[in-house]
Symmetry: C2
Subunit: 358 residues, 2 copies
């Protein structure tokens, strides 16, 4: 009357074979005669046996079939970022050869997950804050790890983007079009996510988020004193607010002091800037050019196609996954730098000369 769970041994007994043979029949590893395999599978069906217990298998094999993804933010927030979701999407493909699933983990103090979950490998995505702490945990456990969008330092394989060069490229493009008065809308500059102007030079030290700093620096390499306003998040509504602030005085100020172009550090922010321009009766790109970053599809932005740096988010995720697969195969991991591609879109043009604005 013991509530004995059905095990592979029971199945083997019913099939009249040894447990090890049954194991082979399930895994398909060794060479088992068709007759035997069928007998085992039939026995399993008869006993309503659902297959080898993954817990026991994983103790034995050392593999759990689980890859952890550490996201810095509250999960709901991370899901709102199309770049992150694209990366997750690519990651699922990249680790497909493992037949593994993705375990969502938050990079949160005292969060049990990273310390105790049965993980074969880990991906850290954009965890600027507790990155080092998380890395320490993972390394101590001896789990292969790869970092995306974060400066992990020596010896940790990472997949990186040259955010500074990419943004400089956008700026150079606008400069070549003739723009000289360019403003910038940045991603949050610190974990607290407050909105504020970021003065060139004096405020640089405030910026604790790598991506924000690098992208801003790249733009200012071309437009040194360009005014920048930090948003509280990568959202259309945030871009709208910033855009209003930057463009609102267009009617009352001389055209020369109103930016002729705005560089936003994400496509969602750029979309908001475009909304702000429309709201103020400015035409894009005739009155103001707008460029973004990411290359995602902004739902609802049609007929505009943003000028943007297309970052290979899905590909980055896929590469990360592939990298982990190789590490688990015993290969030495390497860091990879990915390239962005500029897409012109239809939201930029040469600035109207002041002669055009009587």
């Amino acid at each position: 009357m013991s509530a004995h769970r059905t095990t592979i041994a029971d199945v083997a007994r019913l099939a009249g074979v040894a447990a090890s043979t049954a194991s082979l029949a399930f895994s398909g590893k060794g060479t088992v005669s068709d007759a035997t395999r069928t007998r085992v599978l039939d026995a399993a069906a008869a006993l309503d046996y659902a297959g080898p217990d993954p817990r026991a298998a994983s103790l034995r094999t050392g593999r759990s079939g689980i890859v952890g993804v550490v996201l810095e933010e509250h999960l709901g927030v991370a899901f709102l970022d199309p770049v992150k979701t694209a990366m997750l999407d690519g990651l699922t493909e990249g680790i497909a050869p493992l037949g593994a699933g993705l375990l969502l983990l938050r990079d949160h103090e005292g969060e049990a997950g990273l310390e105790t979950a049965p993980l074969d490998a880990v991906v850290l995505i954009g965890c600027s804050g507790r990155l080092q702490a998380s890395l320490a945990t993972v390394r101590r456990r001896g789990i292969p790890v790869i970092v995306i969008d974060g400066d992990a330092g020596e010896g940790i394989p990472q997949i990186t983007l040259d955010n500074r060069a990419a943004t400089r490229q956008i700026a150079e493009y606008l400069h070549a079009l003739g723009h000289r008065d360019v403003a910038i809308v940045t991603l949050p500059f610190q974990a607290e996510r407050t909105r504020r102007f970021l003065e060139a030079g004096t405020d640089d030290a405030l910026i604790t988020i790598d991506i924000t700093r690098e992208r801003l620096a790249g733009a200012r390499e071309v437009f040194p004193g360009a005014p920048a306003i930090a948003s509280a998040g990568s959202f259309i509504d945030e871009g709208l607010l910033a855009g209003r602030t930057l463009l609102a005085d267009a009617a009352t100020r001389p055209a020369a002091t109103r930016p002729t172009a705005i560089i936003a550090q994400s496509d969602l922010l750029a979309a908001g800037v475009i909304r702000a321009a429309e709201e103020l009766g400015l035409r894009v790109p005739d009155d103001v050019s707008v460029a973004g970053f990411d290359g995602i599809t902004v739902d609802g932005l049609a007929p505009f196609e943003l000028a943007t740096m297309v970052q290979p988010a899905t590909e980055i995720g896929r590469m990360a996954g592939a990298s982990l697969v190789r590490m688990l195969d015993g290969e030495t991991p390497t860091s990879i730098s990915m390239n962005c591609v500029f897409r012109m879109g239809n939201t930029t043009s040469a600035p109207r000369s002041s002669a055009d604005c009587p």
Copy 2:
């Protein structure tokens, strides 16, 4: 020289205690003297021992600390749905007492995950297609399961919404305002996601997705012959397309045949319909009223606040999680029906009488 991994036995030996005692020191379960605990923890630190191997622990305890979430779609698509992400968000809170993580699984034929992952419990979200197959797998494994947004049938605990009644309520509200010519924009009606008109009666059988059918039926209980157009997905751009189709002829047709109100089956679709109206020079809500479903915040829709049925998505996720926790505690699971709340917003008004349109 064997590459022997450090185990709890090694730690125990160094600390001069038995392995079982060391285990207690780590888990904090039994009664261990402070001195002993300190000795064990010190020994662990000295050996760089990262704590009990979760694989072995889970074999012993029968718990893996992992809850599976099965999403029907390609993960990238699921992440685009704010309702689903809100549910995931709530779910993480709901299962917090377990200290468990969420394992993302796709409801895909031959996908290994659901069959072999070490899962303590499973949540199926909106898996109309292979729902039964997935359920069978899970039940055979004897894993507690709960279903959200899907008709699981007898004996399976579910968290449901009365989509039909909720939509009828929206329709009744519009009817009370005086609307008689109402059109509907639906979610996809089948897995293939093609756009098409859905004739009342004749096309009903085509609809294989529960939510779509129920919400449509609810609207037609009030507006029996209402024209409906199925979208290819819950996106603003899809709502835009459908909205154009429904409203485009406004200028050339007599006002009487143009809908005075449109019910969209999701807020994103409704946002697109509003865009379409604006594009055509129609004012919302003066020229056309628009209502949605979900109650999410549509980024970029300001200053409109949608008239919509607010569904408690986060709460649903939380309840699902709490339910699983109880099941794992041995309680008998029960199904729960959640209620939506109508939010008026500012996108509906009484239709302009034909007298207003000379």
